[in-house]
Symmetry: C2
Subunit: 228 residues, 2 copies
Amino acid sequence: MAETVPVEPPSRGEQTRALILDTALRLFEEQGYEGTTMRAIAAEAGVSVGNAYYYFDSKEQLIQAFYGRNAQRHVQVAGSAMRDERDLSSRLRAVLRGWVDINERYHEFAGSFFKHAADGRSPLSPFSRESVPAREAVTSIFRDVVEGSDAKIAPALRAELPNLLWLYQMGLVLYWVHDRSPGTAKTYELIDRTVPLVVRAIALSRFRVLRGLLDDTLELVGSLTGKP
Amino acid sequence: MAETVPVEPPSRGEQTRALILDTALRLFEEQGYEGTTMRAIAAEAGVSVGNAYYYFDSKEQLIQAFYGRNAQRHVQVAGSAMRDERDLSSRLRAVLRGWVDINERYHEFAGSFFKHAADGRSPLSPFSRESVPAREAVTSIFRDVVEGSDAKIAPALRAELPNLLWLYQMGLVLYWVHDRSPGTAKTYELIDRTVPLVVRAIALSRFRVLRGLLDDTLELVGSLTGKP
DNA sequence: CGGTCGTATTGAACACGTTCAAAGGAGGCG
DNA sequence: CGCCTCCTTTGAACGTGTTCAATACGACCG
């Protein structure tokens, strides 16, 4: 993991690739996804449209890069937001609000972006094989949320909880995409209202009456995430 | 509801509209959504492409019609599947499996279809204003599932349960879209395994420890579905 | 220096969804 | 019939994402 790899200077191809990507992401932010044409990206980057397709199979694949960059930002922001906080509710709330903060400026074109998430055959789907690294990066955030808290959680649940919280965030994202309130205030409100419920539900998991249901559910979730 | 309306013979426009729609849906089934061009639909129907756009604002809107037709089928199938069954699990299971049965042949192109569901600005989204009638039709199925069963359910939950079950089905659909197992066997399996869990969770709603959490959750759901 | 091979780059061409000004029809009225 | 009006229909044209054969570049070798 920490081996010293000889740092090659970026080849000509990698430079062009980075140039195209940076230009594309900038134009996406300025003019939205649908409002940005491949010709415009190529022209702004000073290359031909064919050249852009030499490095990216499709316009959608440029989104993949956008997604990855924002996930990376989320990891950073979440880390610092949780540093001095041990309460599970506070940690979870900070991480979720952090995601909304980061993505707020892209809210307008995020719809035409997340819609690919529901496409089973698209590599852009968060469930696809191509998204495994990005998904695990985000899941590790939630693992940190749980592990770094002082909450008492049943071990069986503890192991699967990060995946469940990731799913919970997916639901929030879906709400956020449809949220047209100014500043996506309703999404923030939804977070503030659901986080305590989620934490309470987690706490309830230790009760006797629930253990049967919980165990069966966890076994199901485990068998699904294991070999989908 | 049962008023006698004078039955006008379908005008020329309505005939053309129906012709285009039937042709489109047939081609969608035969060649998939992306594989069917507007030009092909027009040619097959014997009209011009401009004429198709006179009746349908976009290719997506043809999907809306497809969605509506299948929802209608689901209502029929669900009704007969539940006729002689009072057990909540059996009723719920029959309705959900019925949906998968109906949509099985469209599974391959359903992905490029349901992806619009996640787009906040698309009228095709099941959360959009345009989808309210279709959504209420499906929700009424689940109301029937609950009301026609012999299960004892807390009144507060009973009122909101159809909406929650609709949401549950949305989750199953999302899984189904990504399900590549032969005959979408894994989706059927998921239904068979989750239905008992859902029903047990409903039954648990009467326990003391859960009432607080349940009431808060229901209030939240109510405020969301009320004025989104 | 010339030649060769793999990488980069080009831009015209293609098929698609969509638009729109123009034309066609069908019924009503004088 | 002639004229008008409204609904219907047409097909060329536009801008888009994408493809591909052709070309240019650059490093290495003899």
